[in-house]
């Protein structure tokens, strides 16, 4: 479980930068309707990538199952 600790530390280091930048952004109520609706694109991209990840995780599980299967 050492690797989990490493990963968390790494992520903290990566994101600490962004967190410090995030302070001082405006507080608009509906982000999705602002700024040329670019955030609609963001939501679409997130859904696509999320879908791909679910697919990949499933595929990974299937391959693992196949590997563990006993065959004579």
């Amino acid at each position: 479980m050492l690797s989990i600790k490493k990963i968390i530390t790494f992520l903290c280091l990566v994101f600490i930068n962004t967190i410090s930048f995030a302070q001082g952004t405006s507080n608009s109520t509906d982000v999705l309707k602002s700024n040329g609706k670019i955030y609609v694109v963001m939501v679409v991209v997130i859904v696509i990538v999320l879908g791909l990840f679910i697919y990949l995780f499933n595929l990974d599980r299937k391959v693992t199952k196949l590997e563990k299967e006993k065959h004579s």
Binding site: L11, N17, Y39, M42, L50, F53, L56, D60, E67
Partner: protein
């Protein structure tokens, strides 16, 4: 490494970060550079190329490993890394063409870097042609590995040297100063804070897909041996 989960979760987190924060941050709009919001492509188009280079690099390592110690498993690794690398390259060239259409006015302008990337990809596609033309697995692996080394070193002139010697539409050609790729003055620290996680995330995604293919190949081989 092949079956661990922690780096897959890391990949997921990094890409989710890229796809959300990449749209949320403010991007600079330097004078004389009509990029506007399209500069956000930096988080998607450019990591494709970085990912491709890493995948080809890993493939090269396994090709050399195979030549030093001819085990079929090294050849699987080498082949599958090239496969994913080529897909990343094709995605990079397609997204690049789309971006170019709105930035430079045409899908293909014969830009030095565009042409170089196309040549590099064609050289790698020839790798599959070469392998396909041979019958024996051992020959496929050995000649493929030798060709792989050649193909990787062709990346140096086509992607990293020639486009920088001539005038290029990409930033960092002869006309602009110093940095190849993106002028640091047109970038901002917050953009870099998204860009590098994006590079790591997309590359890990490529590695993940590759390892799945390798595992299937290894399993197939095991079953053949047992049958």
């Amino acid at each position: 490494m092949l079956r661990k989960t922690w780096w897959k979760i890391l990949c997921f987190v990094l890409l989710m970060y890229t796809c959300s924060v990449g749209f949320l941050i403010k991007v600079p709009e330097p004078r004389g550079v009509p990029m506007q919001q399209s500069i956000r492509n930096l988080f998607f188009h450019v990591p494709m190329w970085f990912g491709m280079m890493v995948l080809f690099g890993v493939s090269l390592v396994y090709a050399i490993k195979y030549l030093r110690n001819p085990q079929l498993k090294y050849d699987f690794y080498s082949l599958e890394y090239v496969r994913t690398g080529v897909i990343f390259g094709l995605l990079g060239i397609t997204t690049g063409a789309i971006w170019a259409n709105y930035q430079w006015g045409a899908f293909w302008s014969g830009d030095a870097k565009q042409n170089g990337a196309a040549i590099a990809l064609l050289i790698y596609l020839a790798y599959f042609v070469l392998r396909g033309s041979l019958n024996e697995d051992e020959k496929k692996a050995r000649i493929g590995a030798v060709y792989n080394v050649f193909a990787f070193f062709m990346l140096f002139p086509t992607l990293w040297i020639l486009p920088r010697l001539v005038e290029s539409l990409h930033p960092g050609g002869e006309g602009s100063e110093g940095n190849p790729g993106l002028n640091p003055e047109d970038s901002s620290p917050i953009m870099k804070a998204v860009f590098w996680p994006a590079v790591i995330g997309w590359t890990l995604l490529g590695v993940w897909i590759t390892t799945l293919r390798i595992r299937i190949q290894l399993e197939k081989e095991k079953r053949l041996a047992n049958a």
